[in-house]
Symmetry: C2
Subunit: 87 residues, 2 copies
């Protein structure tokens, strides 16, 4: 089997990792059990990956990390929006 088929499948799946969390939080309106630090780390690491992708000219890295960064930004917005949910 061509390793690139596995690699591309892994990449496509990685892009969508945060999507179920965004949908769940959007519906429930609660972020109480979700780690804010996880998404802060994700936003920093994804920004670094994007910078790396631009510097080495990798369309794949730029493309996948743009999607992940967008989902991370939506999650950070949801944390802000529902920040007083438990109080």
């Amino acid at each position: 089997m061509n390793p690139e088929i596995i690699g591309i499948s892994a990449g496509v799946l990685s892009c969508t990792t945060f999507l179920p969390q965004v949908i769940k939080t959007w519906k429930s309106g609660s972020t109480d059990d979700v780690s804010l630090i996880m998404f802060i780390i994700a936003s920093i690491s994804t920004t670094l990956w994007l910078a790396y992708g631009v510097l080495i000219g990798s369309i794949s890295i730029i493309f996948t990390n743009t999607i992940v960064l967008l989902l991370t930004i939506v999650m950070l917005y949801l944390f802000y929006r529902y920040r007083n949910h438990s109080s």
Copy 2:
């Protein structure tokens, strides 16, 4: 600046993304707001990345995805352990 410094920083940070969620859930004993589907997707994509790393012989991909997979397995165990928390 050497792009590889940015790339390695991004990689190291990516490895630790799920760690704050594992710590938070371990302490709180609650997974109510956390998406199980997110961690199921993460476990599949990380396994695919591991297979890809083995097939192309990339130590970096094998190393980082082993750490992420271990954190994902711990999270899935916590979902199982606290599955009746809200009932």
